[in-house]
Structures are given as C-alpha cells and as structure tokens.
C-alpha cells in the first residue's frame, strides 16, 4: 500500500503518457485497418461481382475481417474507458482500487493486442483468397 502511495505520481505520469500514445496508435493504425476494408477489399469484391465472377471466398474473408475490426474497436473502447477510470482514482487515498483498475486495464490492453494479431491474420487470409481468385481467373484466360 505504501509503495503505491509513494509511487502514485510516477505511476500516474506513466499511465497518462501511455493513455496518449495508445490513443495516437488507435487513430493511426485504425485508419489503416479501416482503409484496408473500405478502399481495397470491398472495392475489389464489388468490381469482381459486377463482372459476375465467383467472389465467395473474397467476401468471406472481407466479412471476417470486418467482424475482427468491429471487435478491435469495441475492445479498444473498453480498454480506454478502463484506463481512464484508473486515472481518475486518487491512488494516495484508494491504492487497492487503483491497483485493481490498472490490473483490469492491463488485461483489456492485452485483449486489444490479440485483436490486432487477429486482424493481421485476416489480412493474410484475404491475401490467400485473392491469390486463389487471381489464379482461377488466370486459368480462365483473364479475358473479361
């Protein structure tokens, strides 16, 4: 307890810096993740569909990616709210509550990192689906 109280200012400064740097990461990485879907995947699927080509695998990969992106958004929001809660606690008066809040934020941050890993995997899944599509289409003569 005494250790938390004595390191309260230093811990809060670290949390404040992390809060800001994670927000920046969320904005910048989130923008790229959104664009992967809206500017590339969905557009290519639409183009292939308008050419009456089989896009089942591509659409499936895009849908999975979209679901993973929504999970990432939700989990980041939950993490940010928890970290904000921890920052609002006066750790000199409520050291145990502060410790618990930080522990919960830590677990939620770890979940966000897992979500990022899943997103990267779905990007690879789409790459594989696209490679198959390109290969199939090449076999058909790419005459459209």
């Amino acid at each position: 307890m005494n250790r938390i109280k004595s390191n309260c200012v230093s811990a809060k400064n670290t949390l404040n810096r992390l809060h800001a740097s994670d927000a920046l990461l969320r904005v910048n990485r989130g923008q790229i993740y959104e664009s992967m879907s809206t500017k590339l995947m969905t557009r290519f699927n639409d183009r292939a569909q308008s050419n009456h080509l089989d896009t089942k695998a591509l659409v499936g990969a895009t849908t999975s990616y979209g679901t993973a992106l929504a999970t990432f958004r939700t989990n980041y929001q939950s993490y940010e709210e928890q970290l904000s809660n921890a920052l609002r606690i006066d750790c000199t008066k409520e050291p145990a509550a502060f410790y618990d809040a930080v522990a919960s934020a830590r677990s939620k941050r770890s979940q966000v990192h897992d979500d990022v890993t899943v997103l990267h995997r779905h990007i690879d899944d789409y790459t594989a689906a696209f490679a198959q599509f390109a290969s199939d289409h090449k076999d058909q003569g790419a005459s459209n």
Partner: protein, 125 residues
Amino acid sequence: MDDHVTVEPAKELSFWDEHRYLLLIAIVIAIALVLVGISMTLYVTSGAAQLDLSRPGYRSVSSQAINNDSEFKNYSSTGPINNDSIAEFKALYEKQAASAKAVDAFNGDPLNPDTLEISAQAIQQ
C-alpha cells in the same frame, strides 16, 4: 345611426400570458440541454471520444496523427477484371498489407505492476 362604440372590458391576463417570453426561453433551454445530452451520449458510446485527439491530455500527440491518408489509394470498384486490373490490385494490396502489419500495435506490457512499481507483493506488505 348609432354612434355608440362598444368597448370590451380588458381581459385579465393569466400568469403564463404575462410570462410567455420566460416560458419560451425556458423551453428553448430545456430542448438545448436534451439535445446536448443526446449528443454527448452518442459521442461517448459510439467510440468517437476515443478518436478525438483534441481532448485535454492528448494535445501532446495530436500533431502526430495522420490527417491525410491520400497515399492510401482507392481501388476502383468499377471496370473489367483482367490481368492488368488484378496486377494493379495486387500491388496496391501488398503495399498496404505490409504497412498495416508493420506495427505490432499494443504489444508489450507497460501496465505490468512491476513496471509501474505498484506490484501485488508491495500491496500485501
């Protein structure tokens, strides 16, 4: 001809007739408060708050936010699918996929109690 003019007795004004401007202002303020409440609820629950780097505490990093992603080219959703369009998409996608995966975001364990020097062992002392 009858030159008499009939004058109606002045009707007594009610409390709300006398204070209708106050009532109007009170209603306008109440509507504004309700709309602000709805806006703030949407701002917080939609996740927009997490993306707002103009909030206090984020000013130190707001200048580093990417405001212009024009480098991220849109792929055209219309046109034929042929070897050229496939190659064009492949080049665009590979470039952006590499960029998206270049950063292992939110890795590490900065909230570890040992790192923050608030370890459980210390709490139990």
